[in-house]
Amino acid sequence: MLKMIDVSKVFRTELVETHALTDFSLTVGEGEFVTITGPSGCGKTTFLNIAGLLETLSSGQYLLDGVDVSTLSDYQRAKLRNQKIGFIFQSFNLMPDLNLFDNIDVPLRYRGMKGAERRERIEQALEAVGLAARKKHVPSQLSGGQQQRVAIARALVGEPRFLLADEPTGNLDSNTAQGVMELLNEINDKGTTIIMVTHDEQLAQRSQRNIHILDGRIANPVLTPLKTPGESTAAMA
């Protein structure tokens, strides 16, 4: 479970102080599919970065699976990211010099997993996203949709508890985006908690719960889900 209590994030320079998140409180339960919406600059990405332990918070408390992450060192945060969180980025963030196999291998190597187990997991992940035959290809040889599927495979290969997606369909056409959303729904159906930042209100409405952020605060403090877990796949069909 992910729980933020009165979390604030302030960016300071010599001249400017920017309040990206203010008294932000949110609880995301096991297996939920939550979307985060809001206008540009409202704090969506900052929320995602804090949720994914990519940035520290200025004040408040953040509990990830019961662990107060605000007290963790950089090293401990990296280990926690590696073990519990999967990331999907808008521009895929694949390593252009590595083939698909090596790209998906990246988080597993940081976990120190043995070669045989890594190989088996990578084969399964590539199979799951339908790209097993192209494991020796480099990202530039794939379409945008295929690249995002590789990124999803990379995010899932470590079997994370939480999947954080930053505009995962933002760089895709509507048909490809639909395919990616179906894949995410399948993943969610299998129990992975997903938090997805999106500009697309239609996609947001299809999640179990939508959080709308305005000026660093939750604008719609809805406490009950839009849909119960398990309903999302049917809604998308």
């Binding site: 990296a78 990211r81 963030n93 090596d102 988080p107 190597r109 976990r111």
Partner: protein, 403 residues
């Protein structure tokens, strides 16, 4: 460790890697061979000449006045110099070691001019020269005043005895113990026999070639218009004695001039000046090459890191710790430098063979190449350490930024 993926990623960016690896290989080839040449020169320059260099000095007395008698002047000068306070001994010689100027001759075991000969330096000296030079007699004896003969320049040798260096004795009589060489006869050109009366441990020739340890002394005084005097001071008094000797000689005889007064240390320095300068130039080349190569490594690393900032952020987001990012770039550099030093090892050995074959250089010791490889690997790691630390400080949040 990520060696496999790092290597595979490198193969997709070949040009930069190949260029820097070639630079490392070239640098290694040059610096190892340069260090070998410097060490070789230093070893040659540091060889002892066998004489008491710290306390010896030499000068030339040139007569010009009517009635100047070189033989008498030299005899009187020696008597006067040997009585001077601070002078341990003085002699008339035709040359001094490491000066670059002297006489040489072929020496044989028979009077057959067609038989093989050993080239050797020949010192024509008075009976005190062995003591003046502070040579170590290891067999037989030196000369007496009765042994010394006067001869005119370009005339044939008039002496009939000689003292050899140990190296020359062993080269001439390889099957005999040094003690047994004493009493043997050797021949110099003109069919002149010289009986060996003594062996000294070492007396280098005036020149610096591969016959430098071969010398022979004969008790002769060459009358040719000028005399070279060799003077040994008591320890630590050389500089004072040099000034006093010059004054004394000028005062003793106004029919000659004293010139070219130098300590043997000055003579050695002058003889090896070109070698010292060459070593300095080579060190400058080495330092410059290492600096340029280090900058090349830093430049490639910084360029690679800046180009991959988002990748680094993504790796951090995917769970890489700072030490793992640091390790990634250190290993990447190790692989690039490894390719460079491997190629460099081949080039180094090839270049060394070229020098040995064409320039009569001694063969390079086997340890130079592996030590050079290790040094270049260490330089590469030092050069990439700073940029790698910078990469490790890149925040993971950069992964979610659009630019």
């Amino acid at each position: 460790m990520d060696i496999g993926p790092i290597f595979r990623a490198m193969t997709r960016n070949k040009l930069g890697v190949i260029l820097i690896a070639l630079q490392i290989a070239f640098t290694m080839t040059v610096i190892i061979n340069a260090i070998f040449i410097i060490n070789e020169r230093s070893r040659l320059m540091a060889r002892p000449s066998g004489v008491d260099e710290a306390n010896l000095f030499h000068l030339v007395s040139v007569g010009f006045g009517e009635g100047f008698n070189e033989e008498i002047a030299a005899r009187d000068d020696m008597e006067m110099l040997r009585r001077l306070p601070g002078v341990a001994n003085a002699s008339v010689v035709n040359a001094v070691p490491v000066s670059g100027s002297g006489s040489g001759t072929g020496v044989r075991l028979t009077d057959d001019e067609s038989s093989p000969s050993n080239f050797t330096a020949i010192y024509r000296v008075d009976e005190q020269a062995i003591d003046t030079m502070d040579l170590d007699i290891i067999a037989g004896e030196g000369f007496t005043i009765g042994d010394v003969r006067n001869r005119q320049r370009n005339s044939e040798a008039v002496s009939d005895i000689t003292v050899l260096t140990e190296t020359l004795a062993r080269d001439l009589f390889p099957d005999e113990a040094v003690n047994d060489v004493v009493g043997n006869t050797v021949w110099v050109p003109g069919g002149i026999p010289l009986q060996v009366v003594g062996i000294v441990r070492q007396l280098q020739a005036p020149w610096q070639n591969n016959t430098i340890e071969r010398s022979m002394l004969v008790p002769e005084n060459v009358i040719d218009g000028s005399s070279m005097y060799l003077v040994r001071s008591e320890p630590g008094q050389r500089d004072r004695v040099m000034a006093e000797v010059e004054e004394a000689l000028v005062a003793a005889n106004g029919s000659r001039i004293i010139r070219d007064m130098r300590s043997l240390e000055e003579t050695r320095e002058g003889t090896y000046r070109i070698d010292s300068a060459m070593s300095t130039v080579l060190w400058v080349v080495i330092i410059t090459l290492v600096f340029i190569t280090s900058m090349g490594i830093v430049g490639l690393a910084v360029f690679g890191i800046n180009r991959r900032r988002k990748q680094i952020g993504t790796r951090r987001a995917l769970g890489a710790t700072r030490p793992q990012i640091l390790g990634y770039f250190m290993v990447e550099n190790l692989l690039i430098t490894g390719v460079g030093v491997t190629l460099g090892a081949v080039l180094t050995i090839a270049f060394s063979i070229l020098l040995t074959t064409n320039f009569n250089m001694p063969a390079m010791g086997w340890h130079y190449t592996p030590l050079g490889m290790l040094a270049l690997l260490a330089i590469g790691q030092l050069a990439v350490w700073g940029p790698s630390r910078g990469a490790a400080r890149i925040e993971p949040a950069i992964a979610t930024r659009s630019v």
